[in-house]
């Protein structure tokens, strides 16, 4: 039986864990006291580096390394943007952290701010997280009152502040540079890299951007040590991950496991297997932006390297399972519509390419597809991938290319037989 390894979710089931007194009674803010009392900022960075902690927002970039890129001698303010925009379809872990254990994320933010010398923490929270925003604001208020935030934190001489900033319904604003543009009061358009945010980020000041789950793991890394964290998982994917399982399984939910467990074990042991006694047809290992893997590849170990070798990505940890009855073409249309409508419009390949792909899907589902459409789809993919301004374009082609190659017969059946998908409602863009 596959075991859960609860680290970020260690207070799962503890009543009122979002309250400061409950969090403290369970060892909360001990890691912050430790770094302020016993560790130099560089030692904190070194510890996080040694732990092997990788970013949980999608790219898996080593957190300590990212922190070390910020110039230490930079005069003036430096910032932390905590990415709580959680928009990748299939992902629902950051919302859990924010609503159930916001102090663990805040403690991680303060430790990061101390290590890198950041004067202000902006928690960029997606607009629909009404309850989440209230929870973080309440937690921040408690932390200010207790002296964990503000000037001269716990008498250490270190000061940092925290502000919750709301998004307003845009997936692209989860992309780190678009997030910064939005924070500055603009349309959520990405910025060119380099300069990287670590040297020139929000308001052109050095800025660290990390995901909620990444930051919420930091207190445990400090309390229990880099060696403890590095001892979990695999050689290259160290530690644990909150895996969000959704779609056609008996028990959808968040399961925090060590990297390296077989994906089939997550689906069958933890999420109760495919629902209604059906067979699995395929799955997205890391959200709608990652290529679909077929049923035959369900035993792949859950770590960055193994999933990459299998032809996809671990992404944000969103495991979306679909069963043998799934209409692949319609599912791909749902996702392609999402990318077409959420493209920020800044660059032509993405703005136009995603819409062309959507038009082709609509044509096929309306019974008017042409066999050449499949080559046309693949050719748009080629002209979109790695040619868009930011990785949004690469994300948009994943489902198209992977499903056309894995389930081509289903596309051909629609086209050959002029099969019409009967819509229950007409999607409208707002």
């Amino acid at each position: 039986m596959t075991e859960l390894t609860k680290v970020v979710m260690r207070l799962d089931g503890v009543a009122e864990a979002h309250r400061l007194d409950v969090y403290e009674a369970n060892g909360g803010y001990k890691a912050l006291r430790k770094v302020l009392g016993e560790m130099k900022p560089q030692e904190v960075i070194d510890e996080v580096k040694a732990s092997g902690l990788r970013g949980k927002g999608g790219a898996g970039f080593p957190a300590g390394l990212k922190w070390s890129f910020v110039p230490q001698d930079h005069p003036g303010p430096k910032y932390l943007a905590c990415n709580a925009d959680e928009g990748e379809p299939g992902t629902f872990k950051d919302r859990w952290i924010i609503e159930n254990n916001p102090h663990q994320m805040i403690e991680g933010c303060i430790i990061c701010a101390y290590a890198v010398g950041l004067s202000h923490i902006y928690v960029y929270c997606r607009g629909e997280f009404y309850e989440g925003k209230r929870k973080i604001e309440q937690a921040a208020k408690e932390a200010y009152e207790k002296g964990y935030l503000g000037d001269n934190i716990l008498g250490s001489g270190f000061s940092t502040h925290l502000t919750v900033h709301t998004g307003a319904g845009s997936y692209e604003c989860g992309e780190e540079t678009a997030l910064l543009t939005s924070l500055e009061g603009g349309r959520g358009h990405p910025k060119i890299k380099p300069p990287f945010p670590a040297s020139e980020g929000a308001w052109r000041k050095p800025t660290v951007i990390n995901n909620v789950e990444t930051l919420a793991t930091v207190p445990a890394v400090i309390s229990q040590g880099a060696r403890w964290h590095a001892g979990m998982g695999t050689e290259k994917s160290k530690g644990i991950k909150m895996v969000c399982v959704s779609g056609h399984v008996e028990r959808p939910g968040i399961y925090e496991v060590e990297f390296g467990v077989p994906i089939s074990a997550i689906i069958n042991d933890l999420a109760g297997g495919v629902w209604q006694g059906r067979q699995i047809k395929g799955y997205f290992p890391g959200g709608s932006s990652t290529p679909v893997l077929p049923a035959e590849k369900v035993d792949v170990p859950y770590d960055y390297e193994s999933i990459a070798e299998a032809g996809s990505m671990l992404g944000s940890g969103a495991l979306i399972v679909f069963d043998s009855e799934t209409d692949i073409v319609r599912m791909a249309e749902v996702i392609t519509r999402f990318y077409a409508w959420e493209s920020c419009g800044k660059c032509t390949p993405c703005r136009e390419g995603t819409r062309w792909m959507l038009q082709i899907y609509e044509r096929i589902l309306n019974g008017g597809g042409r066999m050449e459409d499949l080559e046309l789809l693949l050719s748009i993919c080629d002209n979109l991938e790695f040619k868009s301004f930011c990785p949004f374009g690469d994300a948009a082609v994943s489902v198209v290319r992977s499903t056309v190659s894995l389930y081509r017969d289903e596309y051909e059946e629609y086209i050959r037989e002029h099969k019409v998908y009967r819509r229950r409602f007409t999607p409208v863009k707002h």
Partner: protein, 159 residues
């Protein structure tokens, strides 16, 4: 020229309390427009003009930014906003039936407002609640594992 509306004093206060937390005034633009919808019906041209004056930036830029974000209503909407997720995990677990039932019960289509002005129905992208799909929100309240036969009760609750 657009005539600006009088901003609600609570909104002004809300903005002024937060200005010191940012290096520039315009950083507060998106949060201000979101907050404004608590006091004003929607982000009308007059409201955007007033926000532009408050944040000391051109009204054209306020409108450009507002037009980017779906949670900022640029036209009048109903008293309650219904947001139903139509993304992949919710699709896999039957959101199409939920949306069809909503259209039927409300007597309006996705993107429209009921004739009595009570509800605006829109579909939205993944609400980060896929573990309890299909999901929908009525204003700030999230409903999980929604079945079509629950729609009547959910609507009655909001009324």
């Amino acid at each position: 020229m657009t005539v600006s509306v009088q901003l609600h004093p609570e909104l002004r206060k809300w903005v002024e309390e937060r200005l010191s937390r940012y290096p520039t005034r315009r950083s507060l633009l998106v949060p201000t427009l979101i907050q404004a919808q608590k006091y004003h019906d929607y982000a009308s041209p007059g409201l955007m003009q007033a926000v532009a004056d408050l944040l000391q930036m051109p009204a054209s830029e306020v409108m450009s930014v507002a037009s980017f974000y779906t949670l900022i209503a640029k036209h009048p909407v109903g008293k309650h906003i219904i947001q139903v997720c139509h993304n992949v995990s919710c699709y896999l677990r039957g959101c199409d039936e939920v949306i069809a039932r909503l259209e039927e019960r409300l007597g309006c289509k996705v993107g429209e407002t009921t004739e009595d002005g009570k509800f605006t129905l829109i579909t939205v992208e993944c609400l980060a609640a896929c573990g309890s799909a299909p999901v929908m929100m009525v204003d700030e309240k999230l409903y999980e594992n929604v079945r079509p036969d629950q729609i009547g009760r959910i609507l009655a609750e909001a009324n």
